[in-house]
């Protein structure tokens, strides 16, 4: 029989509720989401695209958080392989799932933006093709997880995909520079530090990026906890 103190310790080690920090990220993110929307709708129109350019405030944070999420999956997959602690695998899984949501948002808003500006919803140009491949790889990540019943083998196989799949993130990001593409190059170029954007638009974009990052952090912590509860049920 377990003593009262031991039960308490077990509960602390295996929480079944999100902690305060998770609620802070989620609460603040949801609270600031309408503020970000207001800033996006108050930002000036673009001289060529008019109000269409405002899709950027969803499209760019979605794509960046997708890239970031897949990077976190890469990092925690590596940590899992080195330390063999299932906790790392749960963060990798959570981040890949949230990354798919954000990357999906970037793809959908991108298609809605492409039709009125480029003239088509989709074309097989380098940025779009590499991003579609990226998306498909992480869908495969979850199908692979579902297909393997042995938990340890599942975690190792998933970690391999989480590490190898990440190769495509820098390829997707730099595709617009490496190859001839229809997609424009980066407006905030992280490789040169150049910014080709009106300050008022930049502020709105950075604010939305901040809000999306808060939501991402909240979602990942929440999803990792759910994964921990799932793991416990699987073991029991």
């Amino acid at each position: 029989m377990l003593g009262a103190v031991e039960v308490k310790m077990l509960k602390a080690a295996q929480p079944d509720r999100p902690d305060a920090l998770t609620w802070v990220f989620l609460g603040l993110g949801l609270l600031l989401l309408p503020v970000g929307l207001y800033l996006a709708l108050a930002a000036p129109p673009d001289v060529n695209q008019g109000y269409l350019a405002r899709i950027m405030y969803l499209h760019v944070p979605g794509a960046w958080l997708g890239y970031l999420a897949f990077f976190v999956t890469f990092l925690y997959s590596l940590l899992y392989l080195f330390r063999q602690d299932p906790r790392y695998d749960r963060v990798a899984l959570a981040s890949a799932e949230i990354g798919l949501v954000f990357m999906g948002l970037a793809l959908v808003t991108g298609m809605l933006w492409a039709r009125p500006t480029w003239g088509v919803y989709w074309t097989w140009e380098p940025r779009l093709t590499t991003t579609a491949i990226l998306f498909a790889v992480y869908v495969g990540y979850f199908l692979l997880r579902g297909a393997i019943e042995d938990p340890e083998l599942r975690r190792k196989a998933a970690a391999a995909v989480g590490i190898l799949g990440f190769i495509n993130v820098p390829i997707s990001y730099l595709s617009v520079k490496w190859w001839r593409s229809l997609h424009q190059t980066q407006s905030i170029d992280l490789t040169t530090g150049k910014i080709h954007m009106d300050p008022a638009m930049l502020q709105a974009l950075l604010f939305n990026l901040f809000v999306f990052t808060l939501l991402y952090l909240g979602f990942v912590r929440f999803r990792s906890l759910l994964a921990a509860i799932e793991d416990r049920q699987e073991e029991a």
Partner: protein, 142 residues
């Protein structure tokens, strides 16, 4: 292995193979420039290609009744005449970067799809030139 996930996994692998070998493999180059096209014209005869370049200033002719758009595509060195059926996209204008999908025939490049490229720079319009004010100006001029 659970069967339904295995089927899904095979689907994804098939899709990936298609994307990598079908979408990209045929041609790693998304579009050809008019110079490249004219240099190796025999190779691209009767084959769908994408041509990319700028719409040459002063060459755009649009027939509203036939919905027929004609312009000259240039890369600064070589020029290719283009005919395209259909209304031009909203952002199509002289000097704009475009990509035309189609094939060569009867002395012109016959576009089936016209795509407009836009720049990565975002600027607010000058005072008095917001979309509403421009629309008002156009309506007043009618």
């Amino acid at each position: 292995m659970k069967a339904k996930y295995l089927i899904g996994l095979l689907l994804i692998l098939g899709a990936l193979a298609y994307l990598i070998f079908g979408g990209l493999g045929q041609n790693l180059v998304y579009f050809l420039t008019p110079s490249e096209y004219l240099q190796d014209q025999a190779r691209y005869q009767n084959r769908p290609v994408r041509l990319g370049g700028l719409v040459k200033e002063g060459t755009v002719r649009y027939d509203k009744d036939q919905l027929e758009l004609r312009f000259i595509l240039t890369d600064g060195v070589a020029e290719v005449p283009v005919v395209h059926k259909g209304t031009p996209p909203g952002m199509f204008k002289e000097g704009q970067g475009v990509v035309v999908e189609g094939r060569f025939g009867e002395g012109v490049f016959q576009g089936t799809n016209l795509l407009v490229k836009h720049s990565e720079a975002y600027q607010a319009p000058k005072a008095g030139w917001t979309p509403e004010e421009v629309r008002k100006l156009i309506e007043e001029a009618k």
